[in-house]
Symmetry: C2
Subunit: 307 residues, 2 copies
Amino acid sequence: MEELRIFAPATVANLSCGFDVLGCCLENVGDEMLIRKNDLREIRITKITGQELPLESDRNVAGVAVQALLKEARSTQGFDIEIDKKIKAGSGIGSSAASSAGAVYAVNKLLGEPFSKNELIKFAMEGERLASGNAHADNVAPALLGGFSLVKSYEPLEVLKLPSPPELRMVILHPLIEIKTRDSRAVIRQNVSLQKAIFQWGNLAALVSSLYTEDYALLGRSLKDEIIEPFRSILIPHFDKLKAIALENGALGFGISGSGPSVFAMCKGEENAENVRGKLEGFYADKNIAFELHLSKINTQGIKELS
Amino acid sequence: MEELRIFAPATVANLSCGFDVLGCCLENVGDEMLIRKNDLREIRITKITGQELPLESDRNVAGVAVQALLKEARSTQGFDIEIDKKIKAGSGIGSSAASSAGAVYAVNKLLGEPFSKNELIKFAMEGERLASGNAHADNVAPALLGGFSLVKSYEPLEVLKLPSPPELRMVILHPLIEIKTRDSRAVIRQNVSLQKAIFQWGNLAALVSSLYTEDYALLGRSLKDEIIEPFRSILIPHFDKLKAIALENGALGFGISGSGPSVFAMCKGEENAENVRGKLEGFYADKNIAFELHLSKINTQGIKELS
């Protein structure tokens, strides 16, 4: 195999009570990438469409992720990478993760799969390190594995794939504003009350249970975050009103995707998700803020190969 | 039915990363109770063997739990309660919870089951309030429901029963020392670092997953507690050494039961549990501290009716 065309999905990290550990993968929001072997023993980002991003492979998240993989594989094979970016940078739905995860997935495949999907996570994390200074796994893991990913621990890195109840739908509202990483980090308290931490882990434990038992109502009752959301939501225009609208219209839960500005409504069933999407759209329409809306199933496969 | 004889099991609360939310139920450690209707419209603790405990029903955990149940049931039926205490008070394996849970279970049955097992939890919690000043549910819930109980939240009270992998065994070592509630509370920090809280909820989420998938190795890797154990373990003689012995001999995990002084080793299979029990016994034998040892399956049923 000389080249591979793939779909690299968007992802939602920091899922409510699962801050820093739980993410999920989207079905119909993502980039397309073409990765092709070259004879130059080097990684070249040959084309990026849809967005202005660095073409130097040392400064591109896909480039550094592939370099990390090749180093561990002790391979001198070169690759050309084309990226058609459809996920906006800074959206909070894993734009950099899609590129990093997509690139290592394709390169691994073209090399004859020396690594498992789980082993690819640590290479893709190097892209995240370049993008944000923090080699986090909660976007690249669901992009690679699909479904819901639990980052149990970093030392050692251990990631679990959790089940995805089939009727789940994600409505994503992306207000086209910029939240500076500096600001989204600054608002987080580095100490929390034990009482709130217990509330958070009780909810996360129940959420994990609900994924196994497909108990949608319990999932909804568990999608709570009293530790991060109260502070980060301040940076998102009309967050409280959006949340109220989603919940009043039957969404299971509502929260911040990643570190924002995108927000998500998790819904049971297509019909409810369509309704919630319409209500959010109607509310935001006259707010003088440009926005995008997505409605997606949970993508249980992760990165997909395109014919 | 005029009377009921029951087995009221011991329980392990504060299971490592599940501090305050996760407990499990033991199979062969517990009290026996006999509850009989009387014609006096009052609750009488007619006999307690095995331990010195208050006979006044207002000062006895079983008495106040039954009173809470009868009040909500609007019943004036009276009951005589006999308790043969085999679980030592202050052991950290749910002595008061067994009496409270056992009493409300039997009374509910004798009244024709006006309440579900889940609904009985809140009445039994009144016994815990009397015993410790804190109406916690993480012992009474597993005593009533059996298996592993997750206390998702208190307002509203929501408790889930989680699956119990069949090969699990609990080895309990109870050093016969007294830890004052005041001391076990005083050592807990009321604020924790966000980083440690995230580590804790990542492990708890993985632990819940392991119960569903019967992944014993993952369960072992998840039984970690960096928030409470480092402080409370100081109150338990030779804790670090006991833990090292258990883990070196193949236990999945080791931690404090409740607020101590009992400690538990969770093991896979009878053979490993027997080995770990022997090693712990051998180590403690010359330490000039009296102790008891138990080895138990997980009791998936909770309270049992005796013929």
